[in-house]
Amino acid sequence: MSDNLIQEQIKQDYAYGFITDVESVRAPKGLNKEVIQFISKQKKEPQWLLEWRLKAFERLQSMTEPNWQKPQYPKIDYQALYYYSAPKGFKEGPKSLDEIDPEIKKTYEKLGIPLNEQKRLAGVAVDAVFDSVSVATTFKKKLEDIGIIFCSISEAVQKHPDLVKKYLGSVIPLTDHYFATLNSAVFTDGSFVYIPEGVRCPMELSTYFRINASNTGQFERTLIIADKGSYVSYLEGCTAPMRDENQLHAANVELVALDDAEIKYSTVQNWYPGDKEGKGGIYNFVTKRGICKGKNSKISWTQVETGSAITWKYPSCILQGDNSSGEFYSIAITNNYQKADTGTKMIHLGKNTKSRIISKGISAGHADNTYRGLVSIHSKASNAKNYTQCDSLLVGNLCGAHTVPYIDNKNSTSTTEHEATTSKISEEQLFYCKQRGLNQEEAVSLIVNGFCKEVLQQLPMEFAVEAQKLVSISLEGSVG
């Protein structure tokens, strides 16, 4: 496997590069009070939310971007971005499927997301976000009948202000860090889920995000609340059109699990990664955090990150309730000049809290992949347990893998385990597969999918197949 061959073969084009031609309603360029007021007014928000946004904006003035991460990026000119863009005619909430712009429909079809309920995979409800405004919400009626609220966050602000007011910012505070605070000031839309006490959500809830109108930073805001004894599984999947300029994506996702509740949150992220020379691509600077507020509650994050020029995120769990548990299953694949700095934070506050971290990082081409994770066990977290496993797989000789685990343990009755491996796809494995008739790409795909198995198995069925394909596609041509 010579370097030349590797170079030659790292040629994987992004299959989802297209832009839908829909006129947009935009906020004026730039970041200031007026723009925030514009956003809030467009969305007909109550006064308290406008004030909340402005508070975040004020706070932002005294904050700076963090810079401890491994991937470096050119300075972002926040004044050159548009902070609000809605497809024309979507000033109101979601309309029925028949009223959807045919262009948008086509876009989703290209992405393989059938909006027609008849066509869809049984059991999946979709809250599709096109740019910043919810386009369609399906299966809503069925869910409403059992008291589940699944809608855009804008709609939730109008219809369920008490819930939003109570929980918005309760996991990721206004003052958290630069990108999270920025999101709080300018967030446009996202999903809202409330599962009432004792209800088990009968279907996988899912949302597909797309970044479309050029120069629009995306500031999604998602809030999921699982009341006592409830269960929900939520899927998030993304693709974005081909574009030259880097685009910032700084979403905030907050999860709240009360007593005996469980939230499973799965992500497949396939945003435009930039071209083979590292030009363009999405900056995926996302804050995802869940709190196991009640006893015996559970939050599980599963992510398959194959896209974006830079992926920088740490889906985390605050284990506050006694006997609560947090899980993080991750596959991060970087090819060409992609960079990822991702991992999790498990904050053990309650007694007998458990956490499990399984991270699989795959680097190919010139890519750089970092696992960074914090396991923090506070003094009152007696008998807390953590297990961490970080495996890195290198494809070729020009890529990098790094593991940066932080363990902070203040309770002597607790245990933490950390295992880490770094390996390369061996010549022997490739030869064995080829001797059985598999070509280079099939062999790599098979081996990498095997490497990721533990994580792929965590995904709901509907996603597992798509994710396996993605894993293969992202590495096509990465080995010579």
């Binding site: 010549e427 494995q429 030869f431 064995y432 597969c433 080829k434 059985r436 008739g437 533990e454």
Partner: protein, 247 residues
């Protein structure tokens, strides 16, 4: 079936095979015996198309010189290598691997690929003959397999892929006598007028169960003597020293 002409193989400055010649006819079973380091395993790798060797000469397979072809294309044309040390691939279930492999070969041959149902009935049928339990088919490929399980798995793959030329690289090593019999029966069941075998081994033992048409003695990268199956028994008595002295 196979005709190797003036094959020279080296790694760096080290010559491993020197002007190596061998002809294997349709349906013939050839055994190559020789001491450690004589180049037997290298021969099997080079025939299968492994990278990392400097290779010169001709390897005619079904009247086509395959010396430039990559390993996967050779496999698709009908060359199968049963590995001395089968490779472990974590997380890849045996079933999935076997099906992917079978369909890759079928596709290359222009045959219809098998679906899951067809595959499962086919693989179970073959596995049963080799004493492979269904449970093993659901495990990661060769991971945690015993020596015997690994070798049976190789023969299972061979019977599924139905190659024209099967190369067995020390398939007997690491097998107890019962496993040896099962493996030998598996190989014998595959013998046919259209299929040729090249069996590489240290010991005559395997050849008690798989009767070869020809036995070659290989020393220092070349064949020094060829005979019938009796030669194997002789070797068992006198060892390789005589031949090593002769060179």
């Amino acid at each position: 079936m196979l005709s190797i002409e003036k094959l020279n193989v080296s790694v760096g400055d080290k010559k491993i095979l020197e002007d190596f010649n061998l002809k294997i006819g349709k349906g013939e079973v050839h055994a190559i015996m020789g001491p450690n380091g004589s180049g037997k395993s290298t021969l099997s790798y080079v025939l299968a198309g492994k990278d990392g060797y400097e290779v010169d000469g001709k390897i005619m397979f079904k009247n086509e010189n395959i010396i430039e072809l990559p390993a996967d294309e050779r496999a698709q044309k009908g060359i199968f290598l049963a590995f001395q040390y089968p490779i472990e691939i974590p997380g890849v279930f045996m079933n999935n691997f076997l099906k992917t492999s079978l369909n890759a070969v079928k596709k290359a041959k222009g045959q219809k690929e098998v679906d899951v149902v067809e595959f499962l009935s086919l693989v179970k049928q073959h596995a049963k003959k080799l004493g492979i339990k269904d449970e093993q088919l659901g495990r990661a490929l060769n991971v945690g397999f015993s020596g015997g399980e690994k070798k049976r798995n190789e023969v299972l793959q061979m019977s599924l892929l139905e190659p024209d030329l099967a190369i067995l690289d020390e398939t007997d090593s690491g097998l107890d006598i019962d496993a040896l019999k099962v493996v030998a029966d598996g190989v014998n069941a595959l013998r046919s007028p259209n299929r040729s075998f090249l069996i590489i081994t240290h010991y005559q033992r395997l050849l008690d169960y798989i009767k070869p048409d020809y036995v070659h003695v290989m020393v220092n990268g070349t064949i020094v003597k060829t005979g019938c199956s009796k030669l194997a028994q002789e070797l068992d008595k006198i060892g390789y020293k005589e031949f090593q002295k002769a060179i």
